[in-house]
């Protein structure tokens, strides 16, 4: 099974991107990817719509996007989880918080209780989501599997790999990675710690699959990265 861990649905004015359910379905048809984790753009959160979309197309795996700054963030997340969301997506940069802030803890506690992973924006763009923040939260919440979207790209990949080497519950997603990054990651942390993602609609599933194919000639490693690991993390 191939699972894309990183698809955003809806319409973002901030990022000037849009992806409809129909378009995502067409992308899955074209790429042959079996399932896709989907969540709202940070500036257009609509978890109900995501969950409803997943009810219509069983290939979609709904992930709740929550801004911890909001006073009812925990209620929003629990509501979404009870409606069927299979994880939490965080975006420290666009929502304006540091990943390690205490306002995030209640959300992680909910994820621990519901047994769902956290997928968090983890590019090298701002200190709010740097590798040390990920390490800190993975340590503080050992019962939660934490996935760093973008895998620290560009310059923080090495530090994130180092952090993931020492933490069973810290994982890295591939959407922006070069084949070189992916090969290095498999060598340093093992294929079990890496999940495939495209970053659709910013990214492209076909291009990301092509990069993964170049990087991972080993069938067993490829199977884990492309879907086996995410299947395990989502308890599918």
């Amino acid at each position: 099974m191939i699972i894309d861990a990183h698809c955003q649905l809806g319409e973002s004015r901030v990022q000037d991107f849009a992806l409809s359910v129909t378009e995502l379905g067409a992308a899955l048809d074209e790429s042959g990817i079996d399932r896709a984790c989907c969540f709202s753009f940070p500036d257009a959160v609509d978890n109900v719509a995501i969950i409803e979309a997943a009810a219509d197309d069983r290939r979609l795996i709904p992930i709740a996007c929550v801004d911890p700054n909001q006073s009812n963030a925990a209620n929003q997340l629990e509501d979404a989880l009870q409606r069927g969301a299979r994880g939490l997506r965080l975006h420290p940069y666009l929502h304006g918080f540091k990943l390690s802030m205490t306002i995030v803890d209640p959300l992680f506690e909910l994820c621990a209780r519901y047994g769902v992973p956290v997928l968090c924006h983890g590019a090298d763009d701002v200190p709010a989501n740097n590798p040390y923040q990920f390490a800190q939260m993975a340590d503080r919440h050992p019962g939660v599997n934490l996935i760093a979207l973008y895998g620290g790209f560009v310059w923080n990949v090495g530090d994130l790999l180092d952090a993931a080497t020492r933490r069973d519950n810290l994982f890295l997603e591939t959407c922006a990675w070069s084949p070189g990054n992916l090969r290095l990651a498999v060598r340093e942390v093992g294929p079990e710690k890496i999940v495939f993602g495209s970053g659709l609609p910013d990214g492209d599933q076909m291009v990301c699959l092509a990069r993964a194919a170049v990087a991972l000639p080993d069938e067993h490693e490829r199977a884990l990265v492309l879907g086996g690991n995410m299947q395990r993390l989502l308890a599918l």
Partner: protein
């Protein structure tokens, strides 16, 4: 003709496993890439290596990788431009200077004199190499074609498009940016403002060619991005560029 504007070649300290000319040529042949602009890895500059790799052929186009923070940077650049290198590569972030610093003036003046383009690392991870510094340098040195490698990835590509839209000498390279962003850029400022690049050996030719072809289905626009624009910037034969 397909020209890759961004290939690294030679010894390396920490950035990547190394790549030598035979391997680069093998990859180019397999992917149908005709020419590659080559320069050192930034953590182990060896312009001699790149020069020798390119000498005697036309498929590898050598650029001088210059650390502008070094006092002998202008002498180093002139040495290699006189020898026949066809551009200058800069990396403000890693080499520790700002793109708009006055130490850049002598280097850009040399590039003006020798009529060669400048390729510069332009992600938005650092204040050392921002979109507006690139715009500033393009304005100050109108005789230099400045190519922004990575087009402002991750968050500044739209700013990059805006800056390039009013500056005939500011160009954008396609590595790292997504197909969607490339498509948007072409729609806003035209395919002739883009040059194809992979950042080899970090990325591989085939997926990055796929990216451009999926982003820009129009063949004429593809050809501009994949080689025609860079051929013009390098003053390569137009006949060859259109083949």
């Amino acid at each position: 003709m397909i020209i890759d504007a961004q290939c690294h070649l030679g010894p390396v300290l920490w950035q990547s496993p190394p790549i030598d000319p035979p391997e680069l040529r093998q990859r180019m042949a397999a992917a149908g890439v005709d020419k590659a602009c080559c320069y050192s890895f930034i953590d182990r500059i060896d312009n001699e290596y790149v020069y020798e790799a390119a000498r005697g052929g036309t498929d590898l186009i050598p650029f001088a990788c210059i650390d502008a923070s070094q006092p002998d940077a202008p002498d180093e650049l002139e040495r290699w431009l006189k020898a026949g290198m066809q551009g200058m590569k800069l990396h403000p972030y890693i080499h520790g200077y700002r793109l708009s610093s006055r130490v850049m003036d002598a280097l850009f003046e040399l590039c003006t004199h020798y009529e060669v383009p400048v390729v510069c690392h332009l992600c938005d991870e650092s204040q050392a190499n921002t979109v507006w510094q690139a715009a500033h340098m393009a304005d100050r040195f109108r005789g230099v074609n400045l190519i922004a490698l990575h087009s402002g990835f991750l968050w500044s590509s739209d700013d990059m498009f805006e800056a390039a839209s009013t500056r005939p000498n500011l160009y954008l390279e396609t590595s790292l940016i997504s197909p969607a962003v490339l498509r948007r850029g072409v729609a806003r400022i035209g395919a002739e403002k883009f040059v194809f690049g992979t950042d080899t050996p970090f990325f591989h030719f085939e997926p990055e060619l796929l990216k451009v072809r999926r982003a820009v289905p129009d063949l004429h626009a593809q050809e501009a991005i994949l080689g025609r624009t860079m051929a013009r910037l390098l003053k390569l034969s137009l006949v060859a560029a259109d083949s």
